[in-house]
């Protein structure tokens, strides 16, 4: 007690830190965790109650800002700041939209929340709705997550019946309802403006910005769009305080994140980790290490440029700034390991084919470049018909697409392509020169 200011405890940046506790994912996988009884008996809806009954909307936004949480959907925009962009209340209906159209290859963190802890998300949406004075929430869930849709549907009904949704929440005059909307299989709906078009019943083409959603979003009304885990995190930030949240992570990246390890790892799965954790810890300690020799890993879903599987990158802390500095993005935290004997060109063809299939067709570089030209070039190389100059052509076409498209989908396709050429150029050169992959395809199907 000698110092006036107690030294700030060191932030948690490792799962090995005894202070770390799994919070958001605590009940995932537990039997009946998706029911209202279970949720309420484990402290559910306390945060919402706290926020609505004892805090002003501004305070909630401030608390979120203070926590330093950044959007978990991929772009990493500070959530609190986003909420504060809403125009002053002017009598117009306002919307909070939950983007549960999780379709990025390598990501499945939201699915577990939607399926196993829907009430946590509903509570997060109530808090967010309260913070931005929106009385309507839109929950856009991708069409394939039918189990999640069923459970959310039930959860919303239950919450309504229990008075947790509807009018006069927690005895106040705050009202809130959630519109559950099911997508139908389009990756582009993960883009917020495309999602809004899709919700409104239009083709899911991205919209022109400005106006931004805060000015004219759903039905041209003020709207905020957040990812599932961003909203679910709000429950804990309000419940445990912004300081608890910012007690994890680094200066640049606060709190926890959810990483999903896929590819040849011993225990591929979803893990809640503090920000600033090293990739080595995630891959080796949590996921049990690779089952075969690995040459690269994608740090945050397929749209993020890959890193070679070297110490330099493995020891890098998982935070927005460091990853960006190394030439990639934190994305959704979908870490994918690419084994040594998987042909990189083949792997990239798979990625490119995904984006080709998901391009909405609105703008030329994406429709013609991503959706037509790139897959053709990869197919040609893989068929052993590559010619001298093809790699340069691929690079040039990529550079003509990158940064030229209407929305970031084309960039999401081009960045991994460019990264793969940068790090694994010899594999491209080999396939062009020899007409066959450096690593022939082999069966990977377990019994």
């Amino acid at each position: 007690m000698s110092d006036a200011v107690a030294e700030k405890p060191k932030a948690i940046t490792s799962r090995h830190d005894p202070r770390f506790e799994v919070t958001l994912y605590k009940y995932i996988g537990v039997e009946n965790s998706h029911t209202l009884e279970f949720y309420q008996s484990h402290g559910g809806y306390e945060s919402a109650k706290k926020a609505i009954t004892s805090m002003k909307p501004v305070d909630v936004v401030e608390e979120m800002k203070k926590s330093g949480i950044r959007g978990r959907g991929g772009a990493g925009f500070p959530t609190g700041l986003k909420w504060s962009f809403m125009p002053p209340v002017d009598g117009r209906q306002r919307y909070i939209v939950c983007n549960a159209d999780e379709s990025e290859p390598g990501s499945c963190k939201d699915r577990y929340v939607l399926e196993d802890d829907p009430h946590q998300l509903i509570e997060g949406m109530i808090i967010a709705g309260y913070a931005i004075s929106a009385t309507k929430g839109v929950l856009y869930i991708r069409g394939e997550y039918y189990l999640g849709y069923e459970r959310l549907y039930k959860a919303i009904q239950d919450a309504k019946a229990a008075g947790l949704l509807g009018k006069n929440l927690f005895g106040t005059d705050f009202e809130y309802e959630i519109i559950l909307h099911r997508g139908a299989g389009a990756y582009i709906c993960g883009e917020e403006s495309a999602l809004m078009n899709s919700f409104e019943g239009f083709r899911a083409n991205p919209r022109l910005k400005p106006p931004f959603p805060a000015q004219a979003g759903v039905y041209s009304l003020p709207t905020t769009v957040n990812n599932v885990t961003s909203l679910a995190s709000a429950v804990h930030i309000i419940g445990k305080g912004a300081d608890w949240f910012s007690g994890m992570g680094t200066d640049d990246s606060k709190g926890f994140h959810h990483v999903q390890v896929s590819g040849p790892a011993k225990r591929r799965g979803v893990y809640e980790v503090p920000m600033g954790i090293s990739y080595r810890e995630i891959i080796f300690d949590l996921a049990g290490g690779p089952t075969e020799e690995v040459k690269a890993f994608i740090p945050g879903g397929s749209s993020c440029p890959m890193f070679p599987f070297t110490d330099q990158y493995l020891d890098m802390p998982m935070e927005y700034a460091s990853v960006a500095k190394a030439g990639s993005m934190l994305g959704t935290g979908g870490i994918m390991l690419i084994p040594q004997n998987k042909c990189m060109v083949d792997a990239l063809y798979n990625v490119v084919r995904f984006y080709a299939h998901e391009s909405c067709g609105k703008c030329t570089p994406c429709r013609e470049g991503v959706s037509t030209w790139l897959p053709s070039m990869y197919k040609k190389m893989l068929a052993g018909l590559g010619e001298k100059g093809d790699l340069e052509l691929l690079e040039d076409v990529s550079s003509n697409i990158r940064g030229r498209s209407f929305c970031p989908l084309a960039d999401a396709c081009i960045m991994p392509v460019q990264a793969s050429i940068k790090h694994f150029r010899p594999e491209y050169e080999y396939i062009i020169e020899h007409g066959k992959s450096m690593y022939p395809r082999q069966s990977r199907w377990a019994d």
């Binding site: 083709r203 067709g361 030209w373 030229r404």
Partner: protein, 793 residues
């Protein structure tokens, strides 16, 4: 706002798009998806350019560049689509840098990878934006070695429009056009990504303005079927003219080749039709190229019409005329005759000392309003009351009303013309339907877009207007209040009101009471002009219907076919002289002593006055019409035979005359025309039927020529008899039956179209110039089925 484009500094209004700044500066960027009068969407990504702007510090001062002492320009990391970028203070746009060039060239290459490059067979070749831009910005060769996307070619979207899906570059102009301009969402993208194509589920693109998509398609994906393969763009003679199909005075471009009209396209008139024309105007030109046109004068000899020279024909006429005393000759022009023709007819009438001169069809009341509304008044109105079937009478009124519903004022013209990307326009803008009220005796198209619409019993216009003026009903009161309250209110009156002098008077009273401007929809292209020039009978007894029923001993009719009515035909037989000046042989030429070849509206030179009172030039397309002349030419020929130099013997002579009275030089009108004030003529009342079981309704398609317009005929199924399904059942008629029937003495051939939008007990059929809008008795006993609709097996 100050903007710098390359080396040119400009001062432009805030909200201007960067692409317009570039064009205003005299530089060029390629673009495909932007289109005048439509929302910019940034889909084609061709207009990319390096763009930068200075930034402000927290205290509001510019962030300075230490090296130069000027505000530092922060460039966007990627080239920006200039069409969707609004200019900012101090913005710098660089369209000449290597980055810009590479971006544009790369995009051009991608546009072409799936384009079939079948320019030699493509009708757009030579006038194709993609072709032009590929020359200017393309690299000249493609690095895309794979198979191009294959898709359906020559797919008939409707009888009038052919779609080639391979050529489509997905600029979305057509899809946006339908949503934004006429508001009929009948075309959309299907599928997604590289498989996207445009298509429709509705058969035949049910829209009255579908043809405009062929104009705005930047490639040859959407083509006008009437002109398909008729010629190449460089072979056409392009003539800018004014459409004589309705009273809007829409600007058109007539494309003719080797003496034949092959295509009509919309021309730009920012004040009238903007870039658009309706389908009736666009596709209804085929009749002019029919092979059965009258090409030489003909004289009846021994009961048979024989080709003669103009001299022989006019000599015959002049001999006959000399035997007539005053006021025995009747002269009747169709209401789409030019101002010059009207003057010629008047001067001929004066010379021949007859007061029996008229134009037809016309209404019982004047079409010249005391407080006339212009199209721009209509497009910016705060309240609109339409008492007409505006879409069919003057389609452009329909389109400009939809402008008003959007609430965006017409754009200010820039140095390069209409802004290419008007950032105020957005996709799927909400429409202020509550400013529009529509009343008509049956369900009209415009009612879809009106918050308040009313279908009143046929012939009760007077009662309806009284209700509004007296505010005796809630709806009437609300309407009157909204018209009074609106800063700018416009009342649109069509044939149903103008046909009744009483209703017309009430409507004028309503306008006066509410301070609204009035737009009166003239019956035909030059109704306004001919009335303002007093091409009207000296007294009521000399009106055209009276001429036909005996007031005239001799008759010169131009463009009219009165003998369709069997009763009138009998009366015409008694005439001492019947001169018919027309395009085709018909019931009246069969009785005529002299038949003279007339010019179609595409071949005439002259002036028309549209419903705003706007003087617009009609220019002749080089068309082979044989010895056809317009009415001024007839006056000249007749004058020669009479040894007289009559006024109005040529367009120039008529214009000299008009210059004096109008103080307007009609040979030097600006392209968008000139509005001059006009006073209503002394309209001698026409008797109109007040009873009948059928209503003749206006039609945007010229019913009299429909059977010569093969494509339009196929698209509309011919002139339709529309009736309520219950009535159809009781008359034992079914859809698509083709019947011949006597309608008020006119033998009509009609195809049956049952429709819920028609009130029970009333049948609707299109009016003819000689059987204009109004009630009529359809003889149910005379119905003969010529062709029974095929049952679908």
């Amino acid at each position: 706002m100050k903007v710098k484009v390359n080396d040119v500094e400009l001062d432009l209004a805030p909200g201007t798009s960067a692409i317009d700044a570039v064009f205003a500066a005299g530089y060029d960027v390629p673009y495909f998806c932007s289109q005048e009068y439509m929302s910019p969407i940034g889909a084609c990504r061709m207009c990319l350019a390096v763009v930068g702007a200075p930034r402000k510090e927290r205290d509001g001062s510019w962030t300075m560049d230490e090296a130069t002492g000027q505000p530092k320009i922060f460039y966007f990391p990627n080239p920006m689509a200039t069409c969707t970028t609004a200019i900012m203070e101090g913005m710098v746009i660089d369209t000449l840098s290597d980055v810009t060039k590479k971006a544009q060239g790369g995009m051009m290459e991608m546009h072409l990878i799936n384009h079939p490059l079948d320019c030699p067979t493509c009708d757009k070749g030579g006038a194709c934006e993609l072709q032009d831009r590929a020359y200017e910005y393309g690299s000249g060769h493609s690095r895309f070695i794979f198979d191009k996307r294959h898709n359906e070619k020559h797919h008939a979207l409707s009888e009038l429009i052919t779609l080639d899906r391979e050529r489509c570059i997905h600029c979305k102009r057509c899809v946006r056009y339908f949503e934004e301009v006429p508001g009929d969402e009948v075309l959309d993208f299907i599928e997604r990504g590289g498989h996207t194509f445009i298509g429709t589920v509705e058969e035949g693109l049910p829209s009255n303005f579908s043809g405009n998509i062929t104009d705005i398609c930047p490639v040859g994906a959407l083509l006008d079927t009437t002109s398909r393969f008729r010629g190449r763009n460089w072979e056409y003679d392009h003539t800018r003219s004014t459409s004589l199909d309705d009273a809007s005075g829409s600007a058109i471009t007539i494309d003719a080749r080797t003496g034949r009209i092959e295509r009509i396209k919309a021309a730009l008139n920012t004040q009238v039709n903007k870039n658009w024309i309706d389908d009736g105007t666009r596709f209804g030109h085929e009749y002019a190229a029919s092979s059965d046109r009258i090409k030489t004068p003909m004289l009846r000899k021994n009961g048979k019409l024989e080709p003669v020279t103009w001299e022989e024909a006019t000599l015959f006429i002049s001999e006959k005329l000399k035997k007539l005393s005053d006021n025995q000759l009747g002269i009747a022009l169709r209401s789409d005759a030019t101002l010059e023709e009207g003057v010629a007819a008047k001067s001929l009438a004066e010379y021949l000392k007859t007061g029996q001169i008229d134009h037809y069809p016309r209404y019982a009341s004047s079409v010249i309003s005391a407080n006339p509304a212009s199209f721009n008044d209509l497009a910016t109105a705060g309240a609109i009351f339409v008492m007409a079937d505006a879409t069919e009478e003057v389609p452009m009124v329909d389109l400009r009303i939809k402008d008003a519903l959007k609430g965006v004022t017409p754009p200010t013209l820039m140095a390069h013309g209409v802004p290419i990307a008007d950032l105020r326009l957005k996709e799927r803008m909400p429409r202020k339907t509550n400013i529009l009220s529509v009343a008509a005796p049956y369900r009209v198209d415009l009612m879809k877009y009106a918050a308040h619409s009313m279908v009143y019993p046929t012939g009760t216009e007077v009662e309806v207007l009284k209700q509004i003026i007296d505010a005796s009903t809630d709806a009437g009161k609300a309407l009157k209040e909204s018209l009074s309250a609106a800063e700018k209110a416009v009342i649109v009156l069509g044939a149903f009101v103008l046909n009744s002098a009483e209703a017309s008077k009430l409507a004028d009273d309503l306008a006066k009471a509410t301070g609204a401007k009035v737009m009166k929809l003239g019956a035909m292209a030059n109704s306004f002009g001919l009335e303002s020039q007093d091409v009207l009978p000296a007294k009521a007894d000399y009106s055209y219907p009276n001429m036909l029923s005996g007031s005239a001993k001799a008759l010169i009719v131009s463009g009219l076919n009165p003998a369709q009515n069997a009763e009138v035909a009998q009366a015409l037989l008694k005439l001492e002289l019947l001169v018919v000046h027309d395009l085709f042989e018909n019931e009246t030429t069969a009785l005529a002593h002299v038949v003279l070849p007339a010019k179609s509206g595409y071949e005439k030179e002259g002036t028309v006055v549209n419903l705003e009172g706007r003087y617009l030039n009609v220019n002749p397309a080089p068309v082979d019409g044989g010895q056809a002349v317009d009415f001024t030419g007839f006056v000249k020929e007749l004058g020669d035979a009479l040894n007289e130099r009559l006024e109005g013997r040529s367009v120039r002579s008529a214009r000299r005359l008009l210059k004096k009275s109008l103080e307007l030089d009609l040979s030097e009108l600006p392209l968008e025309g000139t509005i001059a004030s006009a006073k209503a003529g002394k309209v001698a009342g026409l008797k109109t039927n007040t009873s009948g079981n059928a209503l003749l309704v206006p039609s945007m398609v010229r019913s009299e020529y429909l059977n010569r317009n093969a494509h339009l005929f196929a698209s509309t199924g011919g002139n339709a008899l529309r009736l309520h399904p219950a009535d159809a059942a009781s008359h034992n008629l079914s859809a698509h039956d083709v019947i011949s029937v006597s309608v008020g003495g006119f033998k009509r051939r009609l195809s049956v179209q049952p429709s819920e939008s028609v009130p029970e007990g009333m049948m609707l059929l299109p009016a003819l110039p000689d059987q204009p809008v109004g009630l009529v008795q359809l003889d149910l006993n005379s119905i003969k089925k010529e062709q029974v609709a095929l049952e679908v097996a």
